[in-house]
Symmetry: C2
Subunit: 488 residues, 2 copies
């Protein structure tokens, strides 16, 4: 246990992360008041401290979506059941877990309504009205919304009956353009994960088994949590003409032919909050990436009943605020030590301490949450130093995430090696023949799934990790290099 932690009541209340990671997660999300359980099974209440993270995520993503030409819109949540059925794979994937509205008050509805689990169907029904000519393409629309998917096992942020997300839905004239959009949005997500959430990810395409119900291809970014499990953090789907044809979206092309456009959809959700907790936390609690932290800097005045201390702390807070830093002054009547521990638990990236001696010396003490390093900063130039410090915290957190990920990937040649690596909580990079049988067997025996087939198809072997079959042309086309891991 690190210095200064022996009297830390907060740490005592959080389960040991190396012994019981799931309990550590639950303790952290509840005690930091990010979230609470809702009254209905599997639902969550996102409390202000958690919701502010979501607001920052929305802000950052909205900017990127708008820069890439997308506009937001809002489609109805209640979808006629008959719509869900129009795309065969889609209904098969979603029907068992949809919430059905059957009555208004005491009166039964003529047609049952589905609470959207995702909005392809209702959006396509509107697109079929709106799109007439090739001049109406591309359509580049995003929606921020709540969706409902009734899951058997639920955990706050990671898998809840209702969650918040964004879903982009685009239409294009050509397959090429739609495929380009699919990859462009995956790249937007990747850049956001690294530069905002400070989390490194693996990207690639999903297997047939793991892809979205109704997609031609699903691309995903996978993040490694501190327990070595993978979390699917965002997906981008190339839908081809599957939905466009089912919903009769047709446009008159310049050659006078009626054609179906090509479609994409892509989304990330409040699950990202779970990702950043499990990618960055430690035994003291949260470690929030500065760019989404609701409070980036907390100022704790030391000996604040002494003349001038509180005034100086307030003045410092105002100056940081004016410089665009999200700052909070903690002037509660508690000991500094208690406050330090509480703000560490809440994951605030930088703590500033100001006491009478500091004021005399024209400085403040800054303590980083990521490294616990202390530095003395001149009060005169504090805003500049703090901005630089926050960037440095971000860079360091990303570097740690990057190193953790890449030091926890093993290249495995057979099932024995694979088991060893998975047991250690590592990702497995290996060779797969592309057969569903092998994929299923690995899931059944090791509870691991194919996460992605990476874009870099460089071979790491020539035999399937599972069946041992030598990979020919056909197998390489369907399988080849792949990451397997246990996952959330």
């Amino acid at each position: 246990m690190a210095k200064g932690q022996k009297d830390n009541q907060f740490v005592k209340e959080i389960a040991d992360m190396s012994a019981d990671f799931p309990q550590w997660y639950t303790d952290v999300v509840l005690k930091t008041q990010l979230v609470d359980y809702g009254p209905v099974k599997g639902t969550m209440v996102i409390r202000p401290y958690g919701y502010e993270i979501w607001e920052r995520i929305q802000e950052e993503l909205n900017r990127r979506f708008k820069e890439t030409g997308h506009k937001n819109a809002y489609f109805p949540m209640l979808i006629p059941y008959s719509y869900l059925v129009k795309e065969a794979d889609h209904v098969e994937g979603f029907a068992p877990e949809v919430a059905l509205v059957t009555h208004i008050g005491d009166t039964p509805l003529e047609e049952q309504l589905v609470v959207r689990p995702t909005s392809e169907t209702i959006i396509c029904s509107m697109y079929s009205k709106w799109v007439q000519s090739y001049r109406d393409l591309p359509v580049l629309i995003n929606q921020w919304a709540n969706v409902v998917r009734w899951e058997k096992t639920t955990r706050p942020f990671l898998r809840t009956s209702e969650f918040l997300w964004q879903e982009g839905h685009t239409l294009h004239r050509t397959e090429e353009e739609a495929r380009e959009e699919t990859l462009k949005m995956l790249e937007v997500y990747r850049e956001f994960m690294q530069n905002v959430l400070a989390i490194d990810v693996l990207t690639g395409v999903k297997t047939e088994k793991e892809k979205f119900a109704g997609a031609v291809d699903t691309y995903s970014m996978e993040a490694m949590m501190l327990d070595g499990k993978s979390l699917q953090a965002g997906t981008s789907h190339y839908l081809g003409q599957n939905f466009a044809s089912a919903f009769e979206i047709k446009y008159l092309d310049s050659d006078g032919q009626l054609k179906n456009p090509y479609q994409t959809s892509w989304g990330v959700s409040t699950r990202l909050i779970g990702a950043l907790i499990m990618a960055h936390g430690d035994q003291r609690g949260l470690k929030l990436p500065p760019r989404v932290a609701p409070i980036q800097v907390v100022i704790v005045p030391v000996a604040f009943h002494k003349e001038g201390v509180l005034e100086k702390a307030r003045e410092t807070a105002e100056r940081l605020k004016a410089a665009g830093v999200r700052v909070e002054l903690d002037d509660r009547d508690q000991s500094p030590g208690w406050k330090f521990n509480e703000w560490e638990m809440k994951g605030v990236p930088v703590r500033i301490e100001i006491g009478p001696r500091d004021i005399e010396n024209g400085q403040a003490v800054a303590v980083r949450r990521d490294t616990h390093e202390k530095s003395f900063l001149a009060l005169d130039t504090l805003a500049e130093s703090i901005t630089a410090l926050l960037d440095d915290v971000h860079e360091n957190m990303f570097r740690q995430s990057h190193e953790f990920l890449h030091s926890h990937i093993d290249v495995c040649a057979d099932m024995t090696e694979m088991k060893e690596s998975l047991d250690k909580g590592h990702f497995v990079k290996t060779t797969w023949c592309g057969s569903r049988e092998c994929e299923d067997r690995i899931k059944t025996e090791y509870s691991a799934t194919a996460r992605v087939l990476p874009f870099d198809r460089t071979a790491v072997g020539d035999r399937c990790v599972c069946c041992g079959k030598h990979l020919g042309e056909e197998e390489r086309a369907k399988g080849g290099t792949v990451y397997f891991a246990k996952s959330y």
Copy 2:
């Protein structure tokens, strides 16, 4: 018909607003692509141009909510039916119009769930967990969410089965503090209506008949639409201890006693978009208030195939954008006249025309949407002039709204006068004995309802407009000066 409109195809496609105001409204919202009908009865799709207005509204309100100490959170949409029943008036008001989730896939739920029509019940259930001590008060939380209320007659933005809104839910230690909060948020709304949407409003308290199901007092702001009908644009409720007691929210006060806190809730919705259309529009279409207009300035290059014109137009757009103006350059291959008409229909506050002659003279032509006034502005200082012009457009639109409202209010002494005024599409300021009988009779005979009892209780008569009874102390306390109007 105004000059230059004879060839305006857009105007031809919009119903005459003086002859058929409802059809004018429908034509305008559909043709400007603010909204479309969803597939399920009474639902709407908010299209990008409409949603951008909502985003501006959210941004402006969020800033005001945060400045007054509120934080956002998110509560589950699905509420156990048993919760709805806990507050007697509340269930009576909402039960007939709630959407009920009864099944997940094929499996019936043990307890039916209500899709939130409003969130008092589920939020109170959480507050009862979170609030223990007087130190936990006040609780100042707001939520942005979708709600569902199944309405018989629906119209886009004004009354839809699903709509978007914000709902503030606060808890306080004393009645005084809760009442202060109720009025503070009404005032936030009023200031927002005037300074952002450029709409003048009447504020005051609702009658017992018109108040929110479960409230002690409902305060409202009422806006006058161009057809003389009133639109309830936002409400702020003092809930007393009604919900706190039903949901057993209790805190230990400093005197060692367990007490129920006092509560408020307040909300505005996507209905505000309907309000601004019907408060400002004209025969040419929308007239958007500059502070929420998705596009504040459109630049239409004239003779743009001539050398230098498009370049200058682009450069001007960039400079305005850099100055924080929401600007669009219309470089489509259409005639300037066609573009002028389209952007007028879409309500863009200022149009800038740039042609070869203008460039020679170092100027551009600016045309205001509100007054159709033309002015020549120097290109060098365009950003400053445009910013000032947009403010001026706002001020003028607000002045017009203010004058329209106050010139359409008649003080009436009896039912005959009242009928005449209502038939002219005016609001009626009058005297009411406070009895439900008179309020009901006015509704039955004239389809008019009591909108608000204004804060200024100055008498405008001493007999009830309906029963003619002389108002004594008791009647003045229950009724007195009141506004009646037809309403949305």
